[in-house]
Assembly symmetry: C2
């Protein structure tokens, strides 16, 4: 047996676990969610959110700031589900496979069209590494900036918090919880498609969102 | 806009969220881990473990029993990391991309060769839906049964619990925590390979495991 393929990795820069940073973040979120969640729960959320994003990320430079947003949003969702925190508006969750195109466009278009009358999240059953550049481009054409968005895995907390779950090509990979409304939208996956096709998908999502919002919160 | 692609899904059989089952499981594990973890932490582990497996599973029939094993093992790992539960032997974690071939073979071969002198876990950065059938076949040739194994996503808890982390083709998707020993094994991915090639990968893993065990726990 040759040992040529074995190498020992020790704290390679950029890959190291930012333990102090994550502990500090957990401390800050424990204060923010005091009376709602224990320090133990918050720390678990922070560390597991970091590892979940790391698994599918290529650019580790954004990992720390994305972990802040992902962990905070998941804890917020769980607080909503527990009834400890209310937004007062319908909560909509968009789920597709990669959370790189369809569900991201749907979330941003809904935020844009609803103007605060609903709250929106998105997730993927098998999150991609980054957003689809064609998706970013066609949203930019409408003046909608997606630079801060990133693919996130579907988690229990965001489904628990949702009133309406819209699935779009994630197969059966979304748990069907009682008491929620489920919609399944048949949409072309923008992965690998031309900019013209992606523009068409964007416009179809926009039309569907408009219909859904009319029904949910009035025209 | 045509609405032909929209359908409303409500509690389709087999996809429904087994809420009562998961709450009962959380209750049992809360008793098992009393004094180590709060009921809140245990319930979060059970529900998030279910959703994490659901995302990449095709056969929902096994989801409930797999959730029991995945959640229990993750909580056990976290208890080890906290020092609340000791196995008294080195803890080895194998990580590959899909947790469908290399890391699964390494875990089973290590268990077999070590005979209780180490404890073993495996995980994947992007878990596959099921194990590679060729991998199951070549392990069966050695009398090693993998029927109960399944791909699992890499989580923070199992890395925290590990003394040695062996990565094999998961890129940088494994957090490098301080105080652990990391090995990186260059191995061919068995996905799509012939049974002869997979047999060769199995034998190379076996040889590497033997060397590692000699170093860790003596010949």
């Amino acid at each position: 047996m040759s040992d040529a393929g074995t190498r020992v990795r020790r704290g390679l820069p950029g890959l190291s676990y930012p333990e102090d940073y994550l502990k500090r973040l957990a401390g800050e979120l424990t204060v923010k969610f005091a009376g709602v969640f224990s320090a133990e729960t918050v720390e678990r959320y922070v560390l597991e959110s970091y590892t979940a994003l790391l698994r599918t990320s290529t650019v580790t430079a954004h990992l720390a700031s994305r972990t802040v947003r992902f962990a905070t949003d998941r804890l917020t969702a769980l607080a909503q589900a527990k009834g400890s925190l209310g937004t007062g508006v319908p909560e909509i969750l968009f789920v597709c496979e990669q959370n790189a195109g369809r569900s991201q466009m749907a979330a941003v278009l809904t935020k844009h069209l609803a103007g605060g009358r609903v709250h929106v999240r998105s997730a993927g059953s098998a999150p991609a590494r980054e957003l689809n550049p064609a998706v970013i481009a066609v949203m930019q054409e409408l003046g909608l900036d997606m630079a801060e968005e990133f693919p996130k895995p579907l988690t229990d907390d965001v489904v628990q918090a949702a009133d309406v779950v819209v699935t779009m090509g994630c197969g059966d990979a979304c748990p069907v919880y009682p008491g929620k409304r489920y919609l399944d939208w048949g949409l072309t996956d923008p992965a690998g498609e031309t900019i013209e096709t992606v523009r068409g998908i964007r416009d179809e999502i926009s039309a569907r969102v408009t219909v859904m919002l009319e029904e949910l919160v009035g025209a």
